[in-house]
């Protein structure tokens, strides 16, 4: 579960302060698939950075699975991300010198799995996203959609409590985007909590809840019937 209390994020100092988040309160129960929408500059990505502990808010609290993360230093935040959170980046963010299975292995090795265990788990993760035949391909040898699926496999390999996705379809064509969304939908069906930032309504439609931001504030928070892929 994610609880955000009076979250404020400012950039800059003095007269040039930009108020990106203006006191956001929200709760996301475990197992929910939430889409955060809004225009460019609305603060949707910034909100997710705070919730996923990639950034520190100016004030307010982020409570993840009943753990108050406010006082966490960089080391604690990194460890928490490793153990509890998964992250899908907009531009895949794969390490170019590692092949697909090695990219997925990295967080597993950090978690203390043996090489064999990590390799097996990473392979299974890639098979689950339809890349069982691409284990040893480098990112440069994969299409955008395949790279994003590797990124998803890496994000979910350690079975995170919460999966964050920052515009995961932004760099993909429609076919690849649907593939990625389908994978996320399947994960949600298995109970995975997902927070996805998107500016594309057709993909937000797959979420069961849509939160819309404007000028750093929540202007709409609606539950909906999630769309399914035929």
């Amino acid at each position: 579960m994610i609880e955000v209390k009076n979250l404020i994020k400012n950039y800059g100092e003095g007269d040039v302060v930009t108020r990106v988040l203006r006191g956001i309160d929200l709760t996301i129960p475990a197992g929910q698939f939430v889409a955060i929408m809004g225009k460019s500059g609305a603060g949707k990505s910034t909100l997710m950075y705070q919730m996923s502990l990639l950034d520190q808010p100016t004030s307010g609290s982020v409570i993840l699975d009943n753990v108050v993360t406010d006082g966490f230093d960089e080391k604690k935040r990194t460890t928490f991300r490793l153990k509890k959170l998964g992250y899908i980046f907009q531009d895949y963010a794969l390490l170019p010198e590692l092949n697909a299975v090695e990219n997925v292995e990295v967080p597993l090795l950090m978690l203390g799995l043996t090489n064999a265990e990590a390799r097996e788990k990473a392979s299974r993760g890639l098979e689950a996203v339809g890349l069982g035949h691409r284990l040893h391909n480098r990112p440069s040898q994969l299409s955008g959609g395949e790279q994003q699926r590797v990124s998803i496999a890496r994000a979910i390999a350690q079975k995170p409590d919460i999966l964050f996705a920052d515009e995961p379809t932004a760099s993909l064509d429609s076919v690849s985007s649907e593939d990625v969304i389908k994978v996320m939908r399947d994960l949600h069906a298995k109970g995975q909590t997902i927070v996805m930032v998107t500016h594309e309504p057709e993909y937000a439609a797959f979420a069961e809840r849509v939160i819309t931001l404007e000028d750093g504030q929540v202007v709409s928070d609606k539950l909906q019937t999630a769309r399914t892929i035929a």
Binding site: L54, T78, R81, A93, L95, L98, P107, M110
Partner: protein, 419 residues
Amino acid sequence: MFKDTLRVGFMLGWKQIRHASKWTTGLIIFIMMLTFLNLVAVSGILVGLIEGSVKTYEDQFTGNVFITTPTGEKYIEQTPSLISTLDTIPGVASYTARYTEGATAEANYRERRDPKALRDSVGASIVGLDPQAEDVVTGLSGNLIEGDYLTENDGGYVMLGANLLEQYSPLGQGDDVGYPTLSNITVGSRIRVTAGDATKEYIVKGILKTKVDEISRRIFMTQGEFVRLAGRTNLNMNEIAIRAEEGYDPALIKRDLIESGAKKIAVVRLSREGLPQFLLDMIDTFAMLGNGISSVGLIVSSITIFIVIFVNAITRRKYIGILKGIGVSASAIELSYVIQSLLYVAVGSAIALFLIYGVMVPFFNAHPINFPFSDGILVAPLSGTIKKLVILVIATLLAGYIPARMIVKRNTLDAILGR
């Protein structure tokens, strides 16, 4: 967690190395190799200038252990007894005993018409030796530049050190050479040698030239000839040079000699103990000088590694952010860069070690650098080389770690977003 950090650090570091440009990696390794060569070779050659001289002194003059006449004495008392003792001491491969005496040598005396004109004469030590034993211990015959080596039965013949002769004087020819020399003396020339009250004419059989001044300013004759000229009526000699068996510690020979009572009648020293203090000071000074020069190379290579790692890390800032974002610890990321530095220094140093011990040291031993006062060699003791290797490794690791740390400790999100 520490083990996992190590594992991931190694994996990331190794993958980065494999993925890096081979030319860049090769260039950095080349720089590391040159740095290590510079560290070892510069001071090694500077020290080698003096060490070469010391080695020549030991090889050609004193042997490993040198027994000499105590101050105030005319010769080593009971020399035959001491020599008998030597025959029983383990580790002695060979030895040569020498008579020495101050003398004057005069040349061109037959052409001198004016009794008031200056004599063409020099002061020198005459040495009575066993030519065969001397050659075994010091390889004296190898220093011949003209004529032939003495034999046991060469009565009436001498060999001259080249520095006694004008044409070989290291200070030049003519009247301004700085110290007296004999003019127009070649093999077959006659000289007159005066020791005490006795004077005798000799024919020059050979001329010897070495970089050991003590040898190049001596007059060599057989022991029989010496006894006849100097009038020594006993068998007591002045110097004994001892060569130790290969691999045997000469200090043990010295110890055994002292325990046998040799110290009461003679001065027993290892070759190096007889060196003047200024020479030992020069070795230290040259070593310091070499280390100073090498340090510049060390700083340059450290800066090179620093820049390479810094540029590498800054261009990979986004990936560093991503790694932190997915939960890889800062230590593991830093370690990956340290691993790269370690590879550069390990491979560079390994090549340099091969070049030093496999090529340079054997080469300089076989072909010493021809300095006026010594045969320069490359001095690279293993212990000193290991110390320098440790210094280079530490400097390189720091030069790899610091820039990585500088980049890794930046804000994770800023790194990911490239701002």
